[in-house]
């Protein structure tokens, strides 16, 4: 049964999904203009996951993301300007432009990447949670990864370690059914991903990742479980990527019909419909949201365009910590580092 919806909250969820969608569409456009280079992995189709999950965490919690992390950073609260500037490779980007699309970082929001080797973020998340446990902090570490990661040894090692040591990690699998171009059934003997957590005695749940409310409800429950010190929890969000894996992908591995079928379940359109059916949403509301986002994006692009390139003299800066004191964050905030 669907729980009653608070209108403001529903608007916020919708607005956040729109923010991701429009941001990503702009990224695709800027990529074809050559403003953004390298790999660009778009999140279009999967917005309900980040938008529904992210509000369940407090600012003290930690987030570990993957190379498809634009949406997560946006909803976590990193301003759009530094994110766009990062995509441009400008020094006013959220990581001085050094990482680009796959490596968003934001210390002030405990956003630990943007770690782009599949499976490589899981051990780091386990360690962040270990540090919280050892320092008696009731914080949660949210670790996002895709279905491709479940094939990696690091996935299995990390689930075991987190469960063995009862660490406050939330393993969040965004199952979009493809490890780049390899369908789940072509690389996994057990395609019910949540069941893999059973092997490590971790409670797990699969949820419709196209339904933002379901994502939020399930995630909130899991966060509460983890925060109480009951050990890790595992969620499989069943979702779908509408766009190509990256901008280089010719999509030879799936049919147009399959994509079209999933688009019928577009998380934004279906939530919009749902709210309209409840008479919570009118055309004017959507227009208002869209206008505000268009302005935010225009401002972000202007911020990125106005940004400077990092001087070549700074090429090797930050390979090691300089002897003299703390660093300033790239976009002006004084960092409150843990260390």
């Amino acid at each position: 049964m669907t729980p009653p919806i608070d209108r403001d909250h529903a608007f916020e969820l919708l607005r956040q999904m729109f923010r991701i969608r429009r941001f990503e569409e702009k990224c695709a456009e800027l990529y074809s203009l050559g403003k953004i280079r390298g790999f660009l992995h778009l999140y279009i189709g999967e917005e309900a996951v980040a938008a529904g999950a992210m509000p369940c965490f407090t600012p003290e919690d930690a987030i570990v993301g993957t190379y498809r992390e634009h949406g997560h950073a946006l909803i976590r609260g990193t301003p759009m300007g530094p994110l766009m500037a990062e995509l441009y490779g400008k020094v006013n980007g959220c990581a001085r432009g050094r990482g680009g699309s796959m490596h968003f970082f934001d210390a002030t929001r405990r956003f630990y990447g943007g770690l782009a080797i599949v499976g490589g973020g899981l051990p780091v998340a386990v360690g962040l949670a270990l540090a919280d446990n050892m320092q008696q902090r009731r914080r949660v570490t949210a670790c996002f990864f895709g279905d491709g990661a479940v094939a990696e040894g690091e996935f299995h090692e990390s689930l075991n370690l987190a469960a063995l040591w009862k660490l406050p990690v939330l393993f969040l699998c965004e199952n979009n059914l493809y490890a780049m171009g390899t369908a789940l059934g072509r690389h996994q003997s057990q395609t019910a991903i949540a069941r893999k957590a059973d092997a490590y005695a971790i409670p797990a749940e699969a949820v419709d990742g196209m339904d933002v409310l379901a994502v939020e409800t399930t995630t909130r429950k899991a966060v509460n479980f983890v925060r109480q010190g009951s050990g890790p929890y595992f969620i499989e969000y069943r979702t779908y990527r509408f766009r190509a894996h990256s901008m280089y992908d010719a999509e030879l591995y799936r049919t147009k019909e399959e994509v079209a079928q999933w688009k019928q379940r577009d998380p934004i359109a279906s939530f919009e419909q749902h709210l309209r059916a409840l008479e919570l949403l009118r055309d004017a509301d959507v227009e208002k949201i869209e206008t505000a986002i268009a302005a935010e994006i225009a401002e972000a692009v202007a911020f990125a365009e106005a940004g400077e390139w990092e001087p070549i003299e700074d090429l090797t800066r930050d390979v090691y910590t300089p002897a003299n004191g703390p660093q300033q964050s790239a976009f002006g905030g004084q960092l409150k580092a843990d260390v």
Binding site: A95, F105, P123, E154, E157, S158, V319, A330
Partner: protein
């Protein structure tokens, strides 16, 4: 000066670190109940408890990665990867995360992580347990690579590494653990940016590190009997490499032999020699030579293993050839 073994020195360093900083903890395979594969943490589980002395599953990638995460989260982890051979299973975390995150995040995050492991051959444990890969690790910017060869460095480098805000990898030569030496309390805290001249000489520089230091010193002693005065340089730190000390020695002796237990092709010795070419080419009286491991998986039988590794006799004959 007090006499102690290399093992005791490592243990003393770990003990002092655990005692002095509540953020320090030790994790790795068999560091707790077993007392450490090389007995460097014997008794620690009883003394410091299971929170701080953590036995891990055989999951090198995840516990090295967990060390990275714990360091990001404000702890000072010491991760023991039993041997360099097993560190290959953690390469993703070391190369892709530990070494990159500081730079790639624009300096927002640093990783004060210490990883220790045993390295090297000479104990008849065959090809899969005899690697000397510290030279590989020295290839990677973003990490510091230490190779303590003396009992003073065995303890001192660990304590210095814990003060470093970035990842430090310490390679302890497995052959050295039972070695007894003079522990020089006065040398603490040790510098982890400089090489050290372990024996002064004027005729040839023997440049080496780790377990090979003692073979080089043995060779130098024998050469002295022939009237050849070799200077022995202990690199101590492979990254960042102390070019100043290397060049100063070569400019004094005009000849150099680099001794490295790694395989010859692509060896760390090759890097040292390249730096000598770049900085002291016109000071040389002869080509620079190297004594490395023979290009073969290290075999089990003693006579073959001995033949595969750098030995004092090989160093001596190489020096004689150089002297002409």
């Amino acid at each position: 000066m007090t006499k102690m073994t290399y093992r005791e020195a490592v243990r003393a360093g770990l003990h002092e670190a655990l005692e002095n900083d509540p953020r320090v903890f030790l994790m790795g395979e068999d560091v707790g109940k077993y007392g450490g594969a090389y007995a460097c943490s014997k008794g620690f589980l009883e003394e410091f408890g299971p929170e701080r002395i953590r036995d891990t599953p055989l999951s090198e990638s995840s516990f090295v990665g967990a060390g990275i995460g714990a360091a990001l989260g404000g702890m000072r982890p010491i991760v023991e990867v039993m041997t360099v051979n097993f560190s290959l299973l953690a390469l993703d975390q070391i190369v892709n995360n530990a070494a990159t995150i500081r730079h790639m995040s624009g300096g927002q995050f640093s990783i004060p992580l210490v990883v220790r492991m045993a390295t090297g051959a000479g104990r008849q444990v065959a090809a899969q347990h005899s690697h000397s890969l510290e030279g590989w690790y020295a290839h990677i910017p973003g990490i510091t690579v230490l190779t303590p060869a003396t009992v003073t460095d065995a303890k001192g480098m660990l304590l210095a590494a814990l003060k470093d805000p970035d990842p430090v990898f310490i390679f302890e030569h497995a052959y050295l653990y039972p070695m007894e030496g003079e522990f020089d309390e006065g040398a603490l805290p040790v510098d982890i940016t400089r090489a050290a001249v372990r024996r002064p000489g004027k005729d040839v520089s023997l440049i080496t590190f780790g377990g090979s230091l003692w073979k080089a010193l043995q060779a130098a002693e024998a050469l002295a009997g022939e009237g050849i005065h070799a200077e022995v340089v202990d690199l101590r730190v492979l990254r960042p490499l102390d070019q100043t000390t290397i060049l100063a020695s070569v400019k004094k002796t005009h000849r150099a032999v680099v001794i490295d237990e790694g395989w010859r092709t692509g060896s760390f010795a090759a890097e040292v020699i390249a730096q000598i070419m770049e900085g002291a080419f016109y000071d040389l009286d002869s080509p620079v030579a190297r004594v490395c491991s023979v290009e073969v998986p290290i075999p089990y039988p003693k006579h073959l293993e001995d033949a595969a590794l750098p030995q004092p006799e090989k160093i001596i004959s190489t020096v004689r050839n150089l002297m002409g």
